[in-house]
């Protein structure tokens, strides 16, 4: 909370309409904004989620419902743990060599992939844990009705665990939203406007990093503002998801 208050103090003064609509101005010029970084983060996180959430949930379902006790499951779990421990900069470098180099250019896509892969372990382990918490009695009830196993897993077990699974996804989302290191060699950043996946793209954390390290006071102020905005956006995104799901979208049609 204290950090948040401090951020408000430091950053609020630099917020302006320009901040949200303009792109950065060349070095030395006053003003400008981080609109491109906001859009860039959104795109990167969208790509990342599209990769990380399905793979993570599928992994979690496999670990909890199909592979319990098998060697494959242990291997998957081990891999996820390792992936979790990989420093984000290393992840960035890995994606650099795997995607950026063959493609020959930095891209939003590669940035998204890096973020997505970083989301997988969290989503996967949380999904597994939440699924394991569903009492076996519920599974048995479904099976005893003659429901095929896959249907029981999806329609009953996953649904029962869905609040927890959503939380897991949001945790992962919130974590990668602020990642800077993996984007350095993948998305690379962009002072201009870009909404394409195959070109370098700006991102809020990246931009903040650059500005904070610069010698310009103006950019420092923008960095504070950017940090504040980043946090607020994350909180908004998470709240939105909570609101939508508690309204019953996931309670099932009745």
């Amino acid at each position: 909370m204290a950090i948040f208050v401090y951020l408000i103090y430091k950053g609020a003064s630099s917020l302006s309409w320009a901040f949200f609509t303009e792109v950065p101005k060349p070095v030395g010029e006053v003003g400008g904004g981080m609109a491109n970084a906001i859009l860039g983060s959104a795109i990167l996180l969208a790509v990342g989620s599209l990769i990380g959430v399905p793979v993570g949930i599928a992994g979690g379902i496999f670990l909890a419902e199909y592979g319990r006790g098998t060697k494959l499951a242990n291997a998957v779990r081990f891999t996820a743990d390792v992936l979790n421990g990989v420093p984000s900069i290393v992840m960035g470098i890995a994606i650099y060599s795997l995607i950026v180099v063959p493609q020959g250019h930095f891209s939003a896509f590669s940035g998204g992939v890096a973020l997505g892969i970083m989301m997988i372990p969290t989503v996967c382990r949380t999904t597994e844990e939440m699924l394991l918490m569903v009492p076996n009695a519920v599974r048995e009830a479904a099976l005893a009705l003659g429901v095929p196993n896959w249907r029981s897993v999806l329609a009953i077990t996953v649904k029962t665990a869905s609040p927890g699974i959503i939380t897991g996804c949001m945790l992962a989302f919130a974590r990668v939203a602020g990642e800077t290191a993996p984007l350095i060699f993948t998305a690379f950043g962009n002072v201009g406007w870009n909404a394409r996946l195959d070109e370098p793209i700006a991102a809020l954390p990246l931009q903040i990093y650059v500005y904070a390290l610069s010698p310009y006071d103006d950019w420092h102020r923008l960095a504070w503002a950017g940090s504040l905005v980043l946090i607020v956006l994350i909180v908004l995104a998470v709240s939105l998801v909570r609101y939508v799901t508690s309204r019953g979208v996931l309670k099932g049609a009745s």
């Binding site: 009830a141 099976l143 005893a144 429901v147 249907r151 869905s162 009745s254």
Partner: protein
């Protein structure tokens, strides 16, 4: 209508544990048959072999024949299909926690592809009436979740859910052991009425319940079936001393 069950030389294992040994018996149609015995005697395992739920345990194994109606359920039919014809009610009520009362009862049908609203409404109402729960919930079918009911009501909800898929046999694994005496009586009265339409097999460790509810009773001990006879005979003059010792409380 219910069908009879023929069990021939049924053996069941959990890994290397020989849980059921050479079980042979005939369960009559449209009757209630009770299975009694001390903890770990195999009666629950036996019942789970009747709807192939035993196999959901990865180290489980079964040999022998179980013939329900005229189907050898281990040869002629898939597990998923037999479970639609042989319903099960568990010891602890286990309604689906995220679903309303209506959805709980309709779950078996919906999850198997039936979706006609009109038909579902009818079946839900009929099932709830058959399980003596309709009057208590008819105003809140879609608003209340299954988990908001009392224990006895939840169990009757589970019975309604099992009946909704129109099985021929209803297996009940200690259905009233988690309930208070009044709820237990309601469930027992229910079983009495259900007998007319279904074949009922009830596992119970409460002998008085078996005596009240079932025409035939089987006594299991250490994975074997020791005695199977009319309930009156078992409880007034059993043939096997082990049966006598168990029901008079000399052990177990």
């Amino acid at each position: 209508m219910g069908v009879g069950i023929e069990v021939k030389n049924l053996n069941a294992w959990y890994g290397s544990n020989h849980a059921l040994q050479d079980i042979n018996l005939n369960i009559p149609a449209n009757h209630a048959t009770a299975l009694i015995g001390p903890s770990g005697c195999g009666k629950s395992t036996f019942v789970r072999c009747l709807n192939r739920m035993h196999e959901t345990n990865p180290i489980a194994r079964v040999t022998g024949k179980v013939i329900i109606g005229d189907l050898d359920i281990y040869k002629d039919i898939k597990p998923v299909e037999i479970r639609r014809r042989v319903g099960m009610v568990f010891q602890r009520p286990n309604p689906f926690p995220t679903m309303s009362i209506y959805d709980n009862v309709a779950a078996g049908l919906k999850l198997n592809g039936y979706s006609s609203r009109h038909v579902l409404d009818e079946i839900v109402e009929r099932s709830l009436k058959n399980s003596a729960l309709w009057d208590e919930v008819k105003d809140n079918l879609k608003k209340e979740s299954g988990a908001s009911l009392s224990g006895g009501q939840q169990q009757r909800l589970c019975i309604a859910r099992a009946l909704a898929v129109d099985p021929e046999v209803l297996l009940m694994d200690e259905p009233a052991s988690a309930l208070d005496p009044v709820s237990t009586s309601k469930i027992e009265d229910l079983i009495f009425q259900l007998k007319a339409q279904y074949t009922i097999v009830i596992v119970t460790h409460n002998m008085q319940q078996a005596a009240r509810v079932a025409e035939k009773t089987g006594f299991f001990l250490n994975g074997r079936m020791v005695e199977f006879d009319s309930t009156d005979k078992i409880f007034t003059n059993p043939s096997d001393k082990r049966t006598e010792d168990y029901i008079t409380g000399r052990f177990g």
